[in-house]
Structures are given as structure tokens and as C-alpha cells.
């Protein structure tokens, strides 16, 4: 047992014969607000999937909330980067959010507490008005908020967000970051984002991931720190723009 919300020890993952994560060590304290940055293909989504128990490490250990990743699933909220679902699926917004309540084998329907949690989650992402709308009729940004609500509906202790703001407009993007800040007061939050401006403003610590992982306890995010951490020069741009990787990495 550990006291960390997430603890990865010398964790490596191979996918399709290729090393995606290379001896990653990461300890996330309960209540920590951590951003994971890194180039495309750096392994950020893979790292979150390991924490969810969707990928098995080829070596090393992972503990989540003092349990194995699979056992901890019911306490973890997850917003995937690309939702694999079909927009033609016959389902309403509130029914998708309700899925967040499923965390184990369940017989029968949903109860009063489930409905309360769903309404709460919809309120937090400001989608209460659309709760009966078919998901296929929503905009990309609205779908992303539905997925955030689905993660919140289980009232998680650990929230994993994989680029949750990538299709949100400036205004909603802002208020969603305010929501994340608020949530980080209540639970451990790990967020993958390319929105450097917002990351610099909001999070407590930053991890840079490009197969290997480097921690930065400081929220003072500068081009120099990023460059040193990645082993590649990175442009720090204003809010709303992705960073640019300016040169090839020399495997750290």
C-alpha cells in the first residue's frame, strides 16, 4: 500500500513491438493537479490507459489509489481523447452521462442517487438544457462536455482527462479550465493538454513525456524548462494554441 494517488515504478509499455513508455517513474499525491505534456506519439494517452488498466505494462509496476489499476477503476473518471463511438447511436445526452455510474456488475436500472449524480454532472458542464438531446445532434465541443460529465457522474477520486479541451471554443474552453481548477480542489486531476497557456495558469505540476518522463514540480512553465525537459526546443504560445515542437528529439 502506498499513500499516492498514482504510483508508477520503472514502468515500460511495448505496443506492436515498439517501446511506447520507457521506465517511467511517477508519483502523484492525492489532490495533486498534474499536467502531462509532450509531443504527438509521446505516450501520453498510453500512460493514462495504463492507469486505467487498459494496457498491461511489459515491466514495472502501477498502483492507483493504493490498488491495482483494474481494482481502482470504479474510483477513476476518464475522458478519452477520441471517443470511439458512433454519432448515429440512438442515445440521449443524459443516457451517455448515466454510463458514468456503471462501475461494476449491475443488475437492473438506475436509482435516485444515480439520477442525482447525472444531474449534478450535467450542471457542472452546463449541459442540463440538452440532457434530452440526441448525442448525434451535438457539436464536437458539446460532445466533449458530455464526456466530461460522464466522467464526473461517478464522483471520482481521480480524474484522467486526455485533451478534453481540443474542440472547445475560447469561451467554453476558459470556463472548462475554471471547472478543472475547481475539480482539482476536490480530487486528483491528471490532464493531457497542448494548451500551454492554460496549463501554465492552472496546474500545480507538469510532467513532460516523450517515452521517458520528466517531472516539474514548478508551475512556472517556460520555454527553457520545456526545452531542457524534452530535449527539444518548444515554443510557448498564448492560450488556445498548441505548442510547436521545433526540432527532432534526441532520445533523452
Amino acid at each position: 500500500m502506498t499513500d499516492f494517488a498514482v504510483e508508477l515504478k520503472a514502468l515500460s509499455v511495448n505496443l506492436g513491438g515498439q517501446t511506447v513508455l520507457d521506465r517511467v517513474d511517477l508519483s502523484v499525491n492525492p489532490g495533486e493537479y498534474l499536467a502531462i505534456l509532450g509531443p504527438n506519439g509521446g505516450g501520453k494517452s498510453t500512460l493514462l490507459k495504463v492507469i486505467l488498466g487498459l494496457h498491461r505494462p511489459s515491466s514495472g509496476e502501477a498502483q492507483v489509489l493504493g490498488q491495482s489499476p483494474r481494482q481502482a477503476r470504479r474510483k477513476v473518471g476518464y475522458v478519452p481523447q477520441q471517443s470511439a463511438f458512433d454519432l448515429d447511436f440512438p442515445i440521449r445526452v443524459s443516457e451517455v452521462v448515466r454510463m458514468g455510474r456503471l462501475d461494476s456488475f449491475r443488475v437492473g436500472g438506475f436509482n435516485q442517487d444515480d439520477r442525482l449524480a447525472v444531474d449534478e454532472a450535467l450542471d457542472r458542464v452546463e449541459l442540463r438544457d440538452l440532457s434530452l438531446a440526441p448525442v448525434g445532434a451535438l457539436s464536437g465541443g458539446e460532445v466533449q462536455r458530455v464526456l466530461i460529465a460522464r466522467a464526473l457522474a461517478r464522483r471520482p477520486q481521480l480524474l484522467l482527462l486526455d485533451e478534453p479541451t481540443s474542440s472547445l471554443d475560447e469561451r467554453i474552453g476558459h470556463s472548462i479550465w475554471d471547472l478543472f481548477d475547481e475539480l482539482s480542489q476536490e480530487m486528483t486531476v491528471m490532464i493531457v493538454s497542448h494548451d500551454m497557456g492554460a496549463v501554465a495558469r492552472s496546474v500545480g505540476s507538469v510532467a513532460c513525456l516523450n517515452q521517458q518522463l520528466h517531472m516539474h514540480p514548478s508551475k512556472e512553465l517556460t520555454s527553457e524548462i520545456l526545452e531542457a525537459a524534452y530535449g527539444c526546443p518548444i515554443d510557448l504560445l498564448a492560450h488556445g494554441h498548441p505548442h510547436r515542437v521545433l526540432a527532432d528529439h534526441e532520445g533523452t
Binding site: R73, P90, M99, L102
Partner: protein
Amino acid sequence: MWEALSLPFFQRVLIAGLLASVACGVIGSYVVSKRIASLTGGLSHAAFGGVGLGYWAGLSPLIGAAGFGLVASMIIGMAHRKVRSGLDILIAMVWSVGMALGIIFIALTPGYVPDLMSYLFGSLLFVSWADVGLVAIVDVIILSAVFLFHPLFETICFDEEYAEASGMPAGPTLLTLLGLASLAIVTLLRVVGVILAIALLTMPAATARRWVGTLPAMMVLSVGLCAASIAGGLFLSYGISGAWGLSIPPGPLIILIATITYVSSIALPHRRHAETNGNTLRA
């Protein structure tokens, strides 16, 4: 044509068909929303292996088909969860191996197999009360499973990766759903046959999808559409044979009715458009 209703063989096939539409509309709605029509098609052809096995072993061919279908659905389901890509080859294999085994078993069965064609294309004549009872039992199994586990089924159909990540038993849920699909196919064997079962599992549900916005509503509507196509095809088959002495099996007629319904539903403006516009206005 209505005098058909007083004929015992017609009563049996009609009741079997109407009961089959319950299984078919409910499971077909999952199949269509999850877009696993080809996988389900594989299952229905595999069921023919069980029909042959049933003949050869002297069991009811429907029981054989149920057993064979369940095994095939476990194989396809586990492969689906392991490989995710390259699944189409496996489906083609189960599909054709099922048919091949069926034919081999029937060749090994001594004597003449009188109602073999009826398992391929359906028949008005060969439904027994035991078959009707079996279809009713399958309905009860499917409806109870859906009543108890619909939230799990809905989640696995909507977003499999999320289902897995959520902590719900994603693997067993998927296998159960595929098992139920192979049972739904068994209900259709007598009336429409293995070759055409997949059409009846998909077209009424696809038609219903155009008019409703939730899975439960889709199920109710596709049960109705299934029942209408089956009843229509059975009466037509009977009517044609009475009027012209031609014996056309009901299966093909049922499929044509379901197809015409689907195609006309595409031609009509459908309700989901209205909903979409409503949302854009509100947003």
C-alpha cells in the same frame, strides 16, 4: 386468405413468427446500433452447422443450432476482444465452416432429410408446437436478460473502450450479448431460415432507427416492424400458393417486405432531422 388462420399449421407458423419478432427486434436493435451486422451474419450461417448436427445426432435441429451458435458466438466474441482488427477473416471462416459442417453432417445422416430447405429459406409447413415452445423460451431468456442488464448492453454497444475502462464486466457483457444474438437467430430459423435471418435482424431495426432517438424505443418499433414483415410474408406465401399453386417459401417474401419498408423509410423525411434542427436553434 384469412381462412389460413383456421389451419393448424398456419397458426403454428404465425405464432412462431410473431414470437420470433420479439427476439429479433430487441436483439436487432443492439446489432444495428453496434454495427455488428456482419458478425451476426457469421453467427447465423454458423447455426446451420448445428442444424446438420441436430439431424445427424437425432436431436432437434433447433437445439443443435442453438448449441452451435452459442459456441460460435463465444469464439467470435473472444477473438473480437483479443484482435480487434482482422476480424472479418475470422467471421468469414466461422460463416463458411458452419455451413460446411452442416452439409457434411447432413450427408452423413442416413436417409432423406425432408425439410432441409426449410432451414435455409423458411417454410410454412414444418413448424411444430415444440418449435413454438422453444421460440417462446428464447423470448423469455432474451427479455429477462435485457430487462436485467440493458445498461451494460447499451454501454458495450455505445463505447467498448469506455465500458472496459469503467470497471463493468465488459468481456462477459459482450459475450452474453453475442450469445443472445445467436439465440435470436434460432427463433428465426423455422420461419425465414439461416440465410435470410440476418436481413430480418437488421432491416427492421435500421428502419426503426430513422424514427426514434433511444434504444428502448428502437426496440419496440422494430419488434412491430418485424412482426408486420413476418405476418405479411406468411400470408403472402399462403395466398400465392392458393391463388397460383406456386410454393414460394415465406422467408424471401418476408425479406422483400422488410426491404421495401426500409427503402421507403429512407425516402421519407425522418424525425431525427427535426430534432437536429431543434437543437441547433436552441444552441
